[in-house]
């Protein structure tokens, strides 16, 4: 299955988000680059609001993700609780 990926800036704000993505996506591969982190997952990548909230201990609006988002691939399926990347239409 082809990979999807999400690339985020690497800073204090994204650390818990990255941890949450790695927790929710067992097949995820972390590609750490200077000032940037790319997370590759075969097929489907999910970013879950509840996991991020548990990591940072406050309410989190998934839209906050976009402040530190560099790029991504895949089709986006977005709700209030989940942000999903996949190649499925």
């Amino acid at each position: 299955m082809p990979n999807v990926f999400i690339a985020l800036q690497r800073n204090e704000e994204t650390r818990p988000i990255i941890d949450a993505i790695l927790m929710d996506n067992p097949g995820a591969q972390l590609d750490e680059q200077p000032a940037m982190v790319k997370i590759n997952v075969p097929g489907r990548l999910v970013v879950r609001k509840s996991t991020i909230e548990q990591e940072i201990g406050r309410d989190f609006d998934l839209q906050e993700l976009h402040v530190n988002l560099i790029t991504l691939t895949g089709n986006i399926d977005e709700s209030d609780d989940e942000f999903v990347l996949s190649w499925i239409h």
Binding site: E12, R15, P16, E32, Q33, P34, I56, G57, R58
Partner: protein
Amino acid sequence: MQIDLRTVSIQPLRQTYNHIADYLGADKAASRYVEATMGVQGTTNFHYRPTWDPEREMFDERRTAIKMRDWYVLKDPRQYYYGSYTQARARMQETAESDFDFVESRGLAESYDDGARRAALDFYIPLRHVAWGGNLNGGYQSAYGYGTAITQASLYASMDQLGIAQYLTRLGLLMGNEAELEAGKHAWLNAPAWQPLRKYVEDSFVIKDWFENFVAQNMALDGLLFGLAYREVDRKLNERAGPTISMLTRFPAEWFPETSKWVDAVVKATAAESAENKAQLQEWYAHWADRAQEALMPVAQLALGEEAGEALSRVRAQLDARMAKAGLAV
């Protein structure tokens, strides 16, 4: 001419401090909160025992009946260290300031219903003194507690209580005048309705065990008082005279659910440690929550009349549910 851009990735030799890596189990990047919290408590090389407590060390785990193998499990889920705490509070303060500005600039205080104004002032102004008690108790927990994970959060809660006292003072000055503050103090010292609560607050000052102090203040009293004052009484005033008071009490109203997350996490981790801890917490909680509920009754009647009993039971049920969720049998 052609320019090639190339990035070179430099791996740092280590991701965090050794003592943090020992704690987290691997050399991975740690959050600022973890770095500012773990292993900060002074543990060795105390040259003298304190003259005021020669049986124990300066910082000593034995100042409470609660026993923990590792005091750093009492982490704050909000992950407040000095930097993140001050930023979060600055944001809340900005909102509160603009609410005060709004009330002032639209003249909402002058047009507020006079009967409701009297009720609001009579109820909220003496609460300044309760908040000051919370400030003192937070300082006590922070001074005699053990482990930076809980003592730093206690100190922040202590400062927040001082802030709440100040916002209540400003509410008094905006809705009334300086005489209202005097009258509030007089009520706190003399009015029969306030004496049970005053006794509760003063009794909490002489609790020796700092964890029991935490139970009496942060779990029992705050748990019931904030539900009563900033939900039940607030709703009642809204029905009578609109949301002006809600705007002026926005800080405590938003502070309470946020701080509850921390209190619940501390209760949960402590109760999960051992059956003895759990039993001790339950005993303290049952004692202080019953006393707090009793002490708040006349004050609730002051603000809510005959609806007071029902409102207070609602607040107690919510608090019991919170504690049950955190692992206590209530």
